[in-house]
Every structure is written in structure tokens, then in C-alpha cells.
């Protein structure tokens, strides 16, 4: 594929991610912060988010699997996940975490398990979409083009 086409795919794909609510303005902030001195900034931050989230989701699964669930601990993990997803602009993950925290407060086990499932789904979705986006970026760079700046 030639550069122009790749760039158009990139622009369209990014726009769809915002339109469908996977990403919000904070992701644009990160893109704006990326510059020549740190050309992989967004990939680096998002990778940290993936690592952090994988760990948190494992911790959450374990915590909700206990006989006596420590809801304070569960809430602390969800709070962390909410924070990091918000910081990178993963809007749907963040919203899922907000709902999750409400049920933690109520100490509603069933609802918490449903929320965990929801958060995992949203996380896997956004992870896959961001990976596709980064692949597109890489293809553009390999083809000798520049990453278009989104408005």
C-alpha cells in the first residue's frame, strides 16, 4: 500500500476510535506531546498501561475469587485501573471502572463479577484497537511517510 492510502486509513481509523468512544481527548493530548525528542512516547505510555492493566486485572480476578472478599482491596485496584485508563484516554475502560466502583461500595459480589467481566472486555477491545493503530503507524513510517496529526 502506498503512503497516501496508509495515511488515510490511519486518519479514518483514529477518527472511528474517537467516534465510538474507545478513546477520548486525553489520547489526543498524548499524541500532541509526542515529538522528535520522544517519537515513541505514545507507544511507551500505552505499553505501560497494558502492563499495569494486565497485572491489575489478574489481581482483581484473584481478589474476587476469595471466600471473604476484601472490597476495599478490590476498590483500590479498580481505582488504579480507572486512573491509568483515564490518563491515556481509554474512555470505555474508565467508564466501566466507574460503574465497578459503585458496586464495590455496595459490596455486591454478583454485580462486581459482572463489572470485572465488562472491564476485561473493554480493555481487550481497546488493546486490540490500539495495537492496530500502532501497526498502521509503523507501516506509514516504513513506507517513508509521516504520521498525520489529528485535529
Amino acid at each position: 500500500m502506498e503512503v497516501g492510502q496508509l495515511q488515510k486509513s490511519f486518519v479514518d481509523y483514529t477518527a472511528s476510535l474517537f467516534r465510538e468512544g474507545f478513546l477520548d481527548g486525553q489520547f489526543s493530548q498524548l499524541q500532541q506531546l509526542q515529538d522528535e525528542s520522544n517519537p515513541d512516547f505514545v507507544v511507551e505510555v500505552v505499553s505501560l498501561f497494558f502492563e499495569d492493566s494486565d497485572k491489575l486485572l489478574n489481581d482483581l480476578t484473584r481478589a474476587l475469587d476469595q471466600q471473604n472478599i476484601d472490597f476495599k482491596k478490590v476498590d483500590a485496584h479498580v481505582h488504579q485501573l480507572k486512573g491509568s485508563s483515564s490518563s491515556i484516554g481509554a474512555q470505555r475502560v474508565k467508564n466501566a471502572c466507574v460503574a465497578f466502583r459503585n458496586f464495590c461500595e455496595e459490596q455486591n459480589v454478583e454485580a462486581c463479577l459482572r463489572c470485572l467481566h465488562q472491564v476485561k472486555q473493554e480493555y481487550l477491545l481497546v488493546k486490540s484497537k490500539l495495537e492496530t493503530l500502532f501497526t498502521l503507524e509503523q507501516q506509514i513510517i516504513t513506507a517513508g511517510g509521516a504520521i498525520p496529526m489529528m485535529e
Binding site: L33, V45, F49, D52, K82
Partner: protein, 291 residues
């Protein structure tokens, strides 16, 4: 006779020249003594003293003539957030030291009782920006420790939090925080902070709390204040309308309650919260666990 006369004039000339030379020499010696003592004071001759002076100059991080790079100590337990805040600060030309806990922040400052200040690298901190919710020591507790230190209380502290809770903002400002930013932190927030706190030369514009706490202290007592009210007070954020914030920059997507409230009502005089700062009700409500 002429010989006697000429001898006499000769000796007069000789005497005059001699006194002139003596005069000149005295001045020369005096000047040399002065110059040498100045050089000694400036450590030109002492090898030991020179590095100290360079260090003194070095900790100002002079990047260009007369300017100073603002050094920010960022505290956040989240690795993702640390990376983001570091980038935001570097983008606004700040030097950044990022640590993952309040404890480490105190160690860096040399305030930790357990560890001595051996690790202190001598770099002066101009601003501390800390997350509120952290395991171990919260941002609020860190703020209290810093404001309780005679050495470091002048360093402005900004709190960041994902929770937009008025009571939380309130208590942080009461304790001496300069500002409170609701996460996620944006470039506009950091720029606004830097612009209103520091001049173009990187020097703090105003020391000691930007007037917020002082403003509250000088508030006239409200007759209602004596009654302990169980409900949360309307925050004294209205006081902030008179603080020296760059309201001209807050038009670009204000992301914090402070910035939105600081839009100018230029004629309003500072109004006080009906609940007094030291009311027992307010103090009792303070809890460090509500993250």
C-alpha cells in the same frame, strides 16, 4: 654660590621626585593588597573552595544567561501517570524528578527522619506536584509534612486527584496547597501553573502561599461560623477569585474546578466560607482514607 644653589635645587628636585615615587608606590601596594584579598575571597587561589562555588552556581540549573530551569518534584504511585506528568512538565521546559511515593519525596528533599540527607543531590526543588491518593503516605500527608518544615514550607505544592471532591480540595488548600488539579492532567493545566507561579526567568513570582491562606486568615468572622454545621461548607473557592492566577489562559478547556472558578469576577472582593477554618466539625471530617 651657584654651586650651592644648584645643589640646593638638585636636592629639592630629588626630594620631590622621591616623595612622588614613594606616594605612587604606596598607592600601588595598597591596590595590590586590595586586589589580592578580593581574589582570595573569591576562591581563585583555593582549590577546595572552587567546586563549592561551582556547585552553588550549578544548582540553579542555568540554561541561559539570567534564566533558571524550574525543577519540579513529581510524586505519583502510578507509573503511567508518572510518565505522563514527566512529559507534560518537560514539554513546558521544567526539570523533573519523578518519585513513586511520599516517603521517597521526603527522602529526596532530605526530610525523611529514617534516612539521612545523604541521598540529597543538592538540586533545589521549585515546585512539588503530588497525587492525592497514594498507598502509605497520601498527598495530603505529604503536603502537611512539607508545610510543617521550616526549610521546605516555602516550596509551592500542587495536588492532583482523579476525584473532584470539594471537601478534599478544600482541605488541601487549607493546608497550604497552591492549587488542585483534577486528573487527567492536561498540558494546559501545567502551562497555566507554570505561568502564574514562575516568571520567564524561572524564579518563583511570589513566596509563601500566593495569598490564599493569608486571605482566609484575614477574613472577617461570619456570625454563622460559630455554629458547627454537619453539612459540608460551601468551599472557600470563591476566595480564589482574587488570587493572582492567569485567568486569561483558563479559557482553553479548564479541566479543574479551580480554573473554572477563577474566571474573572474582577470586582468581587474575597468572601469567606461560613464555616471557620479551625471549626471542629471541619477537622473531624478530615479523613485520609477516602481515596
Amino acid at each position: 654660590m651657584s654651586f650651592a644653589n644648584s645643589t640646593e635645587s638638585n636636592s629639592t628636585t630629588l626630594f620631590t621626585s622621591a616623595s612622588l615615587i614613594l606616594f605612587f608606590l604606596t598607592f600601588l601596594v595598597a591596590y595590590l593588597i586590595w586586589a589580592l584579598s578580593n581574589m582570595a575571597r573569591n576562591g581563585v587561589f583555593s582549590r577546595r573552595r572552587r567546586p563549592e562555588r561551582m556547585e552553588e552556581a550549578g544548582d540553579l540549573s542555568v540554561t541561559s544567561l539570567g534564566s533558571h530551569e524550574v525543577h519540579v518534584l513529581a510524586v505519583d504511585d502510578s507509573l503511567v501517570d508518572r510518565k505522563v506528568i514527566e512529559k507534560l512538565l518537560k514539554t513546558t521546559s521544567c526539570k523533573v524528578t519523578a518519585v513513586d511515593s511520599g516517603r521517597r519525596a521526603l527522602q529526596f528533599l532530605g526530610l525523611d527522619e529514617e534516612k539521612s540527607s545523604v541521598g540529597f543531590d543538592g538540586l533545589k526543588v521549585d515546585l512539588i506536584i503530588t497525587d492525592y491518593c497514594m498507598p502509605g503516605m497520601t498527598g495530603y500527608e505529604l503536603l502537611k509534612k512539607i508545610k510543617g518544615s521550616s526549610t521546605f514550607r516555602e516550596i509551592p505544592v500542587v495536588i492532583m486527584s482523579s476525584e473532584n471532591v470539594l471537601a478534599r480540595i478544600d482541605r488541601c488548600l487549607e493546608e497550604g496547597a497552591e492549587d488542585f488539579i483534577v486528573k487527567p492532567v492536561k498540558l494546559a493545566d501545567v502551562k497555566r501553573l507554570k505561568d502564574y507561579m514562575f516568571g520567564e526567568d524561572g524564579i518563583l513570582k511570589q513566596k509563601g502561599g500566593f495569598g490564599k491562606r493569608k486571605l482566609q486568615e484575614t477574613c472577617v468572622d461570619d456570625p454563622l461560623s460559630s455554629s458547627p454545621s454537619p453539612s459540608p461548607s460551601p468551599s472557600p473557592l470563591s476566595d480564589l477569585s482574587s488570587t493572582p492566577s492567569p485567568t486569561q489562559t483558563s479559557t482553553s478547556s479548564p479541566s479543574s474546578p479551580i480554573s473554572s472558578l477563577l474566571l474573572p469576577s474582577a470586582d468581587s472582593s474575597p468572601t469567606c466560607s461560613p464555616v471557620r477554618l479551625d471549626s471542629p466539625t471541619r477537622r473531624l471530617k478530615m479523613s485520609n482514607t477516602d481515596c
